[in-house]
């Protein structure tokens, strides 16, 4: 099909990389016209984590109604009226989930005759901040923390990325989920620990703070083991105290590393991204640290921290307006890396 070569204003974003089926229309890269997110949390809760095959099946069932809602709320319809381009997350993530969104996006691109671009999920998280703070200054250090990722990224301009450090074992969100499951708080662990920690003493237990190497890497598996051992030795320990002390240790490490990274590159701000960026202690501590260091702190709203398609549309808008296009042979890459493309 010939691809219409009209100016890009409204972009449809599609996100199915993990357990959220999402579609969104964003105008001009920064104005959210519609954003629909259908979470599968209830589906996976009894297993204590995301079951890939269940996630893939749920995406297939949810994609049609989620897209219909996103289009309707944007005063468009099935014909894609007013949509100038399509952006879809094509990695990293669960392969069986990613492929559902990629297949849908390619079909829509063919049917509507509009251009398509594949977007890196991590890059999309970076663009979540731009949706609320279009005038971000550079360079930035982004702390991207979620169930699948823990990364410190230097961003010198949109599209110019340098990974400064990452986790050498569990992702931060994964540690939250595993500890929450162990102390009986259920899934997802992040919000549960955040909530109960408000009633606990963060100094009740001195859990270890691991800062591996001289750079900006993270490690959370020792902390997790330490929590498990403590609870086994002390089965009557207050759940709120354990949760608060664990959360304190995770946040301590994240803030220490992020602050050092920002100092090293002379960042004008630290920006949070990813599901763990919704954690209230992390938000408060990053804000305080940035104030102390006299740099900016960008904390996207909670809805934009967790997986959503508005951030995919925002990243896609930027790529499409630069002339980036994906062919109909676009596939999914579960291990897609974040690399500079400028």
């Amino acid at each position: 099909m010939p691809v219409a070569d009209r100016p890009i204003a409204r972009v449809l974003g599609i996100e199915t990389s993990c357990d959220e089926t999402a579609a969104s229309v964003v105008e001009g890269g920064t104005t959210i016209v519609s954003s629909v997110v259908s979470s599968q949390i209830d589906l996976h809760a009894r297993y204590g984590g995301v079951v890939p095959e269940l996630a893939g099946r749920a995406h297939v069932e949810l994609l049609t109604p989620v897209l219909a809602d996103a289009l309707e709320q944007a005063s468009s319809d099935h014909s894609g009226r007013g949509i100038d381009g399509i952006a879809v997350t094509h990695g990293p993530g669960l392969i069986g989930s990613l492929l559902v969104g990629v297949a849908e996006a390619k079909a829509l691109s063919m049917a509507w005759g509009v251009p398509l671009v594949g977007v890196n999920h991590l890059e999309a998280h970076l663009f979540a901040s731009l949706l609320e703070q279009p005038d971000l200054g550079w360079p930035l250090v982004v702390l991207l923390v979620s169930g699948g990722h823990t990364l410190l990224i230097e961003v010198t301009a949109p599209g110019e990325y340098r990974i400064m450090g990452g986790t050498i074992d569990d992702a931060a969100g994964e540690a939250f989920d595993k500890v929450a499951r162990f102390i009986g708080l259920g899934y997802p662990g992040g919000p549960a620990i955040d909530r109960i920690s408000a009633e606990g003493d963060p100094a009740a237990y001195a859990f270890p703070r691991s800062l591996p190497g001289d750079g900006y890497d993270f490690s959370f598996s020792g902390l997790k083991t330490s929590v498990v051992n403590r609870v086994r030795k002390e089965p009557d320990a207050s759940t709120a105290d354990v949760a608060a002390s664990f959360q304190e240790a995770v946040v301590d490490v994240l803030v220490t590393r992020a602050r050092a990274a920002a100092g090293a590159v002379g960042a004008r701000a630290i920006c949070l991204a990813g599901g763990v960026a919704a954690n209230s202690l992390l938000r408060a501590r990053i804000e305080a640290a940035c104030a102390e260091d006299s740099i900016g702190a960008f904390l996207p709203s909670r809805a934009l921290c967790t997986d959503n398609a508005a951030m995919v549309a925002a990243a896609g808008y930027w790529r499409l307006t630069r002339g980036d296009r994906s062919g109909l042979d676009l596939g999914a890459d579960p291990n897609l890396r974040l690399v500079s493309t400028v």
């Binding site: 297939v60 109604p65 063919m110």
Partner: protein, 260 residues
């Protein structure tokens, strides 16, 4: 009537477009590149037949059984095309497409009795038997759905062989499909089983799928809304099986999922 069909149930990936009785087809033996190959195949069959997507009247998709990821790519593509073009979708069984392929490939005297076998992996198959009867279902052969005996649960190769033996007691049986190819050593030596077409009709073909779909639509088969089309997995998701099997003695929280 212009029908566009999508085939992704096995390692063979492709599309076919039927227009004025002529079929344009593009297919690939894709391994696991279903998503990469399907959309270009759709674009190519449109170009080959000089048809735009806007001119298509109905969609057909193989809903399985077959490869889970392949089925999801085909069904997600069909749903999105159906939604965007405001078209209904006809879901067709992969086993029926195999049987229709056997009826097309074999002369009537060989094809009265067909067993279609899809490789279900993990040492099992999905199978259905088709018996067209003495007249072979008329000049066009039967619609496989009208003469089908289904075995909805996955079968071990020995169970498949025993079932084929039973069927062969009533006359020769033509066995087709990638499941027949995989277990040819168990099946071929058995009296009454004809595996001569197993390789030729190893995978459901987009061209056979589009002809079968058009035939059903002409006979009044109802189209489904894009929302309602789902793959026929025939197996629950893995974690679900494990969890439910363990449920009675469950005392601790479940183990970590496969993670993100």
């Amino acid at each position: 009537m212009r029908v566009l069909a999508l085939e992704t149930a096995t390692d063979l990936v492709g599309a076919a477009l039927l227009r004025d009785g002529a079929v344009s087809e593009r297919s690939h033996l894709g391994g696991r590149a279903h998503a990469e190959l399907l959309a270009p195949a759709v674009e190519e069959v449109c170009a080959l037949s000089g048809t735009t997507l806007a001119e298509v009247d109905a969609l057909a998709v193989d809903v399985g059984p077959g490869l889970f990821t392949g089925l999801r790519v085909g069904v997600a593509t069909a749903k999105a095309l159906g939604q965007a073009l405001d078209l209904g979708v006809l879901g067709v069984s992969s086993l029926d497409v195999l049987a229709a392929g056997a009826y097309e490939a074999a002369p009537a005297d060989r094809s009265a009795r067909v067993v279609a076998v899809i490789d279900a992996r993990r040492g099992e198959v999905f199978a259905a038997a088709y018996d067209a009867g003495a007249d072979g279902g008329g000049p066009d052969g039967p619609d496989p759905a009208d003469v089908r005996t289904d075995r909805p649960a996955a079968l071990a190769p020995e169970e498949l062989a025993a079932w084929c033996d039973e069927l062969a007691a009533g006359g020769p049986v033509l066995v087709v499909g990638d499941g027949a190819v995989r277990y040819v050593e168990q099946l071929a030596p058995r009296p009454g089983l004809d595996l001569g077409l197993a390789e030729t009709v190893a995978a459901p073909s987009p061209a056979v799928l589009v002809r079968l779909a058009a035939r059903r639509l002409a006979a009044g088969a109802p189209l489904q809304a894009a929302t309602d089309i789902v793959p026929d997995y025939r197996r629950p998701a893995d974690a679900k099986i494990n969890w439910e099997e363990r449920a009675p003695q469950r005392t601790a929280p479940p183990p970590p999922g496969d993670g993100r």
